[in-house]
């Protein structure tokens, strides 16, 4: 057999010996696919060791929840019927063995994934990892955050119970308030002037096909950027003399240090799902009065509260105030500069603290009865 590609000499010194199975397999592959530079690059990837290293785990944890969502979501699709939404979810909850557990894990994992993404985003923000040359990594992350929230919104309707029906109606009326295109987008999403079973078809398609494809593609791009550029070093770490900088190797030291976290989170998901299973309220009745105490999921509570404070004609003010946060996320990577002592850097941090405090305060405020 003549090899198509020579194995580089430096690879020979690092590969397992050729008399072992792994050694033979890796040589077999490298003879056919000249990917040694990629493997070499990845094997040199490091994670800075400092007091904030724990925050580097957030992206990996979010990825763990994404995998859980794909597995439990696929399992739910086995019994879910968009033509009989409520009855099929009731069957999952009442009749299918472990159906209630799988549905509840899907719900808990979704909520924890969004929480993790908030932590990931804010830790990235305060460590200033969004600055050049990482603007596009930050932007792709912001897009992923937005799609994840839409995942929550679209999945919320699918059980078609009392709460999900009216919550979606309210959510769509918020979208209608967007200037110029609001009505058109809301009509397109609902498939009509009102939320009906036609809306389920559209939300279902978005939830199980369109958004997963988009998310997996952008996650791929996001991770590719991180692999190519390496992990960002915060200013206090970058300022250290080289001999004082300590690193974890990413493969496999850091990656395997996440394994106990995955095990813990798996157990946590099962425990949460068993202790607080997702409820299924009575089937949505488009003729009935809205149920008492209707509230959106916690990650939409801050908007909910802000809009409540600016009723009627001044509602636009609330909408504008809230849209400052996504707007700030979009522009910050292009405004802030990679100079530790720069004044802009101090101001973005201060604004970030105010935005985070505002989000927390409004979320708690909206949560209170």
């Amino acid at each position: 057999m003549t090899p198509d590609y020579e194995i580089p000499p430096e690879a020979e010194t690092q590969l397992p010996p050729p008399n072992k199975l792994t050694g033979r397999l890796s040589r077999y592959l490298l003879n056919r696919y000249p990917v040694w530079p990629i493997i070499d690059h990845l094997s040199k990837k490091v994670v800075p060791r400092h007091r904030d290293t724990v925050w580097y785990n957030m992206g990996g944890i979010a990825l763990f929840f994404l995998v859980v969502q794909i597995i439990t979501g696929a399992l739910l699709m086995v019994y879910y019927r968009p033509s009989q939404p409520w009855a099929s979810v009731q069957r999952i909850v009442m009749e299918v063995p472990y159906g209630n557990l799988i549905r509840s894990i899907h719900n808990w994992s979704a909520n924890l994934m969004i929480l993790t993404l908030f932590l990931h985003m804010f830790s990235t923000f305060f460590m200033k990892a969004y600055r050049p040359p990482r603007e596009l990594t930050w932007l792709s992350g912001a897009v992923l955050m937005a799609i994840t929230l839409l995942f929550g919104f679209s999945g919320y309707l699918l059980p078609w119970d009392d709460l999900s029906f009216f919550a979606t109606r309210v959510g769509m009326s918020e979208i209608e308030r967007a200037p110029l295109i609001g009505h058109w987008i809301a009509g397109l999403a609902r498939g009509g002037a009102d939320v009906t079973v036609d809306t389920i078809g559209r939300f279902y398609l978005l939830h199980v096909m369109v958004m997963p494809i988009v998310v997996l593609t952008i996650v791929g791009i996001h991770l590719f950027f991180v692999q190519v550029q390496g992990v960002s070093e915060p200013d206090h770490f970058a300022a250290l003399p080289p001999e004082k900088k300590r690193y974890h190797k990413f493969f496999t030291e850091f990656l395997f240090s996440e394994a106990p976290i995955w095990l813990f989170l798996s157990a946590l998901l099962v425990a949460l799902a068993a202790a607080w299973p997702r409820t299924l309220l009575p089937e949505a009745d488009p003729f009935a009065a809205a149920p008492l105490g209707i509230k959106p999921e916690w990650y939409f509570l801050s908007q909910f509260q802000l809009l409540k404070m600016f009723p009627g004609k001044v509602e636009m003010v609330g909408l504008l105030l809230w849209s400052l946060i996504p707007l700030g996320i979009l522009v910050v990577a292009f405004v802030d500069r990679s100079i530790p002592t720069d004044n802009r850097g101090r101001w973005t941090t201060r604004i970030g603290i105010v935005a985070l405090a505002g989000l927390i305060v409004y979320t708690i405020w909206g949560w209170l009865p």
Binding site: R169, G187, P286, F287, A290
Partner: protein, 153 residues
């Protein structure tokens, strides 16, 4: 002249590509666009009230949520014994309002209307849409206000 052949060919190709894309996307766009909802009122201008019987609004201060033509509505009898009907979609965020003896109330954000459907408290920006209501063949029917009143049986 000859120099431009390649460029003009590519230009032609992209123009054709744009046309091809538009021709393909237009049916998809129409397919996804919401269809015009059918008029809930029949040829006689009436829509049957669902889930509310005459017994539900037999006496003053009685009222109930129901539907007409796939939409929600409330029908009630006010203290003067007059039958009233409103589309139940709250003008604020689209939840269904409820008749509460002295007022019409929305649980979602606390929107409050008086018994004439006028928004008096909370976030609703406009009054509720009032409907004409009549009894016919021991059932309730609603009709659009503002036009000619349909003939009563």
């Amino acid at each position: 002249m000859k120099k431009n052949t390649r460029r003009s060919f590519l230009g032609l190709l992209s123009a054709a590509g744009v046309g091809w894309l538009a021709a393909g996307l237009y049916p998809v766009f129409r397919y996804l666009s919401p269809q015009q909802a059918p008029d809930p009122f029949g040829k006689d201008g009436l829509a049957a009230v669902e889930k509310i019987t005459l017994a539900d609004v037999a006496k003053p201060n009685m009222g109930k949520n129901g539907g007409y033509g796939g939409r929600g509505l409330i029908v009630f009898r006010n203290a003067q014994g007059e039958l009233k009907a409103f589309d139940s979609k709250c003008t604020h965020a689209g939840c269904n309002v409820e008749f509460e003896a002295t007022k019409i109330y929305c649980h979602c954000h606390g929107g409050t209307y008086n018994l004439d459907g006028k928004n008096i408290a909370g976030p609703p920006p406009r009054p509720l849409t009032e409907l004409g209501v009549l009894e016919k063949d021991d059932a309730l029917f609603v009709y659009r206000l503002g036009g000619a009143r349909p003939a009563q049986a």
